[in-house]
Amino acid sequence: MLNTSLSKKRKIFEITLKLLMYISTGLTASLVLFLLLYVLVQGLPNVTWELLSTKPSYITERIGILPDILNTVYLVIAALLIVLPLGVGAAIYLTEYATDKKVVGMIEYAAETLSGIPSIIYGLVGMLLFSNSMGTCLLAGALTLVIMNLPTIMRTTQESLKTVPRSYREGAFGLGAGKWRVIRTVVLPGCVDGVITGCILSVGRILGESAALLFTAGFAHAVNGFIDGLASPGASLTVALYVYAKEQGEFGVAFAIAAILMLLTVLINFAASLVQKHFEKRRNV
């Protein structure tokens, strides 16, 4: 109706851009759908209980990914245990203690720089820093992951700390509490949602990480307990996928791992948005 009064040039502009937008959005949507379905269809039939519950055996010539699953779990636990206190502590320093704007700017710039460094560089530095002194082992991999995830935990904690009202802290100070006591009783409980969000994001990042683990955590497929596991080399699920696909041509196993990783990614994204919604709702009440 309005369009009829438009000149020809404007009409063409209008239609071309509209078309380009539809095509692009359709392309993006179908890409996601294709990747999801392709990986699940190729991978899920290969996910058997035997695959999940055994280790690779030369005698039966079967491949099992139990060690890789365990290694991934150990990596997640170890990295989170170390990165949480560091990241939360750094965030508390920035929001509660730091008064010098220059120091704050420097720390935030450093965190931004860290999140921009590609994982292959982390892998290399992790190798020089950790693996050369303690040998190639899961702990070296976990420590490398700690540096990588520090900015994430710091940022999410900082954001949730900003939502703790000033008046809570002032109230506590007014009642005679010291700074540390205020942090322990008022500030820390207020940043739980940030810490949880940060944990979920970090778990997702750790699950997907491969380049940083290649030279720090190694390739071995042995079933170990937690402590022994940390001290010995081991492949995570992603590294195992890479080795099976690129070096051994075991595409069935590679797709099985890819399908598992895909499902975990979906689950983590779902959890992250759920947690976010939950906390937003609570905050608005």
Partner: protein, 288 residues
């Protein structure tokens, strides 16, 4: 009372140290890369290293020229940007301005999923879908090529570009658009001639973020690019990127060869630092 003050001071100190850890990490990474990366550059010679056209690290008379890797990384990134940016940008404008809230939120979770997919999964799908596809479509002997890497990278940078552009476009004040509409511009004209220019710093930052992602990606390109240290003369050449050059020989290297790998990492790091600096520049402009 004194004891309490002591405790407070100690705790303040602990938090200060925790706060400075990130700064320490950046310093350690920088120093380590420089210390381990410089010796080989001096030994090989700066010009021979950076502009040398041949990499033959295991030959009896080894050559360490990384120009092929640098050019491959640059071409690969440019290619990914040429394909990925228009698609991502158009998607972002549609989702930010035209899509219904339901479409917007479900597409946003789809994009987050795309961002969360591990790079080895991209590599695997690329290996088994793209590489044979390119071989059949263009009748080349091997599909593992620069083109395959460019396509994988283009998909991998999409989420960063879409997410960041949406944030920038959503932040454009409603009054700008209302004024344009009131003057008789159509909604589409308003989005592209008012909203997009108003969000240009944010969109530029999105592109720079995509560049950083593409140049730093290692595993996915390792699986699809063929990994032969050729000069990237054609799209169908099997090539090696800066990132994959570091990782593909690290496992068995020693001596000067290993030192040269560290130097490649240093070159990559310098690239990344430049990209980070320009990202910060655009983000700062966006905030002002």
């Amino acid at each position: 009372m004194k004891k309490n003050q002591m405790i407070e001071k100690i705790i303040h100190g602990i938090f200060l140290i925790l706060g400075l850890i990130t700064v320490g990490c950046v310093l350690v990474i920088t120093v380590y890369l420089i210390i381990s990366g410089l010796p080989a550059i001096f030994e090989i010679g700066f010009a021979d290293f950076i502009f040398g056209k041949e990499w033959a690290s295991t030959a009896s008379k080894p050559l360490y020229g990384i120009l092929p890797f640098i050019l491959t990384s640059v071409y690969g990134t440019i290619g990914a940007i040429i394909i990925g940016v228009p698609i991502g940008f158009m998607t972002a404008v549609y989702l930010s301005k035209m899509a219904s809230p339901k479409v917007k939120s479900s597409m946003q979770s789809a994009v987050s999923l795309l961002a969360g997919i591990p790079s080895v999964v991209y590599g695997l799908v690329g290996m088994l879908v793209l590489v044979p596809g390119i071989r059949k479509l263009f009748h080349v002997p091997d599909g593992a090529s620069l083109l395959a890497a460019i396509l994988v990278l283009a998909v991998m940078i999409l989420p960063s570009i879409i997410k960041m552009s949406i944030t920038a476009l959503d932040a454009v004040p409603k009054e700008y658009e209302d004024a344009s509409l009131a003057l008789g511009a159509t909604p589409i004209e308003t989005y592209f001639k008012v909203s997009v220019p108003a969000a240009k710093s944010g969109i530029a930052a999105a592109v720079v973020l995509g560049v950083g992602r593409a140049i730093g990606e290692a595993m996915a390109v390792m699986m699809v690019a063929g990994n032969v240290p050729n000069m990237p003369d054609s799209l169908f050449q099997s090539v090696r990127f800066l990132t994959t050059a570091v990782s593909s020989e690290m496992a068995y290297s020693s001596g000067l060869q290993q030192k040269a790998l560290f130097s490649i990492a240093l070159v990559l790091f310098i690239f990344i630092m430049l990209i980070n600096a320009s990202l910060n520049f655009f983000l700062k402009r966006e905030r002002d």
